[in-house]
């Protein structure tokens, strides 16, 4: 079970969180014309990386904040966690 450092609450067990997928995907702006390709890339196409990956988790049974977690998908090592409003660097 992973140990995830919530930027708001501190170290917590994985079972307090739920997974939210790729954190680098940006939703196209509302009302903006987007091509089929752009829309498919937003809704469906994911890379399924092996290695470092920025992903979203929600601290569901804690502060309910969505956070950004940089995790190695192969080793589960967690390098960094950010608040929702912090940009991935």
């Amino acid at each position: 079970m992973l140990h995830i450092k919530c930027p708001h609450c501190g170290m917590r067990s994985q079972n307090e969180f739920s997974y939210g997928g790729d954190a680098t995907i940006k939703r196209p702006e509302l009302g903006k014309e987007v091509s089929d390709q752009e829309w498919d890339d937003f809704v469906y196409n994911r890379k399924s990386l092996r290695g470092k990956h920025w992903e979203l988790w929600q601290h569901l049974s804690g502060c309910r904040q969505w956070i950004k977690v940089e995790r190695d998908t192969a080793t589960h090592e967690i390098f960094k966690t950010l608040k929702a409003n912090q940009e991935i660097s």
């Binding site: 939703r27 509302l30 937003f42 929600q58 969505w66």
Partner: protein
Amino acid sequence: MTQPFRLENVGLINRDKKISFKFNGKNYYGYEGDTLASALIANGVHLVGRSFKYHRPRGFFGAGVDEPYAIVQLYRNGETEPNIKATEQELFDGLEATSVNCWPSVNFDIGAINNFLKIFLPAGFYYKTFMWPKSFWFKIYEPFIRKAAGLGVASIKHDKERYEHKYEYCDLLITGSGPSGLASAYAAAKNGARVILAEDKSRFGGTLLTSEVNIGNQSGKEWADGIISELKEMPNVTVKNRSQVFGYYDHNMLVMSERISDHLPKTKKFHPKQRLWYIRAKEVLISSGSIERPIVFGNNDTPGVMLSSAAKEYLKVYGVLVGKNPLIFTNNDSGYETAIEFKKNGVDPVILDTRKNPKSEIVDEAIDLGINIKFSYVVVAAQGYKKVKSADIAKISDDKEQLGVIENINCDCICVSGFWTPTIHLASQSGNKTKFKDDIDAFVPGISKQNETTLGAANGTYTLDETLKSSFETGHKLSKEITNKDNKISFPNVVEKKSTVHDKFWCVPLPKGKNYKRFLDFQNDVAVSDIEIALKEGYRSIEHVKRYTTLGMATDQGKTSNLNGLQLVSKIENKVVPAVGHTTFRPPYTPVSIGAIVGREVGKHSKPTRKSPMHSWHEKNNAVFVDAGVWLRPRYYKQDQENLFEGSKREAKNVRTNVGVCDVTTLGKIDIKGPDAAELLNRVYTNAWLKLPVGKARYGVMLREDGIVMDDGTTTRISENHYHMTTTTAQAANVLSHLEYYLQLVWPELNVNVVSSTEQWAGAAIAGPKSRDLLQKLFPNSDVSNEGLPFMGYMEGDLFGVKARIFRISFSGELAYEVNVESDNGNFMWEKIMEVGQEFKIQPYGTEALSTLRIEMGHVAGSELDGRTIPYDNSLEGLLSKKKDFIGKRSLTRKAFTADDRQKVVGVVPLDKKTSIPEGSHLVKDSNAPLPNPKLGYISASCWSVEHDNPFSLAILKDGKNMIGEKLFVMSPLKNKVIPVEIVSSHYVDPKGERVRS
């Protein structure tokens, strides 16, 4: 009755307490402190079972967790449990055990025919057999193998025992209480660290209980006892025996199973049988020791062949002789320690040492004691079927290839020592890439992957002095980093016998003309010849060889077999062992009972049960409950002997004719506040929200980004910046997360707060033509007329002194209202409604009637909004705003979603107006078409229409908009039904929706 193999005055058992037990129906006795294995051996019983594949007789091989085959079926307090190691099961009064793999009995075993029909069961026999004609498998192999194989029988009865889970944090978790575990625990504890010390066995001390050493002028056992009693007194230390740390998971999470009551005749009241500990440790010290490995020779699975360390443990801990005429077969000094123990207790052993000329303190001592030692000698084969009777032995050439003349000597046991294999399972599970250590011929942990350090024998350190030193140091260093304390401990003086190098010899060659089975894996019956076949058949990767031959699989996980298997592969493949590599060690290290894994989450505790504030009223009024997610909801209120069908029909009818009340507390509720609340709703719902006035409710549908309907519900504007959203019961949690996602990550600029208020409000839906009359009596001071409170209107009211929210919304399609009060007043509200409603013939109605009402009205719900449908499919396309963007809108332009013959919700009526239609049935054009019959759609929900008094269903049907009036067939192969039906509008009652506005 005497115990022929029990020594007097030796061992750590309690001779004042006799314990009687039964094995295979026969009565025996042992002593408190015995294991089932030690007590059986004391009674001269060596035959415990039959092997898995060939059904050869099986005895005891180890004395603890290393045991591959002394597995029994245990009976305790009216329950039975399979897969119990006799070497680990402590004896208790009334214990009963039977052999497994034996049919019809351990002494006459029909499966032993397999032994003579080896042709059926070579390497890969599972694969090969599965490939054979199917008819053979089902008719011949499976029934035969099922009856004859297996490691016991699981009980199908409900387990009455209680199992617990515990979550724990510590600075240091130490796995094993041998010398390294004790030393490191002691040093860390003295530095103030929070320590958990786990020992698998009932006794602490590990090898200190059996080795002839001296620590600080005490025997090993005395020293261990002293350390343990001191640790037990320290508040920062948890010391646990009968506790196996069996799994090392991510981020230093380890799981330990504590056997609290397994050693007792019956579990004490309010005690659990076992407890599973989830331990998050800052540092993990692996002090799991090592396991002696066998030397491979002919018939090395005969009962009476066992590890030399096990023989020593039976003698020193239990006072039991594994034989009175022992033969010790060794390639290192450890075998001598066992021989010396025999000799000291009046039994004359013979030592066969594969080494030519070893020189060490221990060898000298054995010579001085006058023990018969034959150097450069090997056991070629054990002789005897159900027990060792003699051994074929021979001199072996210096290159270990040539055997001399075979001699036969009498013996009743063969104690084998092929040197020591570090127990690296936990380190390997943590992700540690192990490395091969040439001088000990085994793998040890390499660079740590997580915060784990391996100490002592588990790390390939086999001298006590070195082990204690490094363990004290490591315990001190790691604890200092955590606690910043620096309490030094004086290091005790250690006296141990020096030993010399072992002989890297592991397998005795077959003598000419002999074809003895030489076993590598005793639990899975994998012999040298099986590995040879696998390699001949082209298997190369050790992982493939493992799966093909079953080497190192199952509960044993290769504890004694792993390295010899690798040696064999490396020899045939002409590669060094590290190049072959070892297979992955997987948790659990030892079997864990399913009960312990499940813990207390069984039966009704497998999920939380949520009840509405009106639950006790429902109970008192004969509600029959149904699970709705985690909620318990009344399905119907039973009157007299009526069944669900009759009861729900009565309730639904009463709603259509008079008035009914339904507990709708379970609906998800989300409180939304902030100046941008309307903007948020406008983005998440498909319809327009910016112009909803205060005091009005609106129905809305929300989509996922892929265009699929996520949920629906009404949202009410309570005040300027305050909205009350309702969701379906099932989607409440998901909708909240969905809103939080967009507010926190996508549109953080929106000034809105959302919070769940589901549990803050109790809700009652009042529905039926007389509902307004009732409402007026409930709220005499409010104007609830059609003008005062129109359809989709909202107001606050005073319910006999209790503040209430009144919504004019309808799920049933009737004139209806929903009243909410704070949860604590829920029961008061309900009772008032029932009391005042008497004169209007009010009846409560449950979820079944609720479904009936919504189905015949054609209101879509969870069974249509099932994560596969878009708004059009549910005839909700009228709610899609063309003027604004919203979540998921772009996806609705996808080709499949705009296809001409896109599926749509329709109504379905059986032509005979009698036959009920099973939910989930398929709709087809021709019931006699060849299979697979093209499916046009499926039945999503069925009811008995109370308005029309005939069955009615909703279906999602291909090209639904053009199918009204068509005749199709409903097919349910599961229920063996074919029903001719007519497709009608989904709005079967009040298609214009006039009642809700009346």
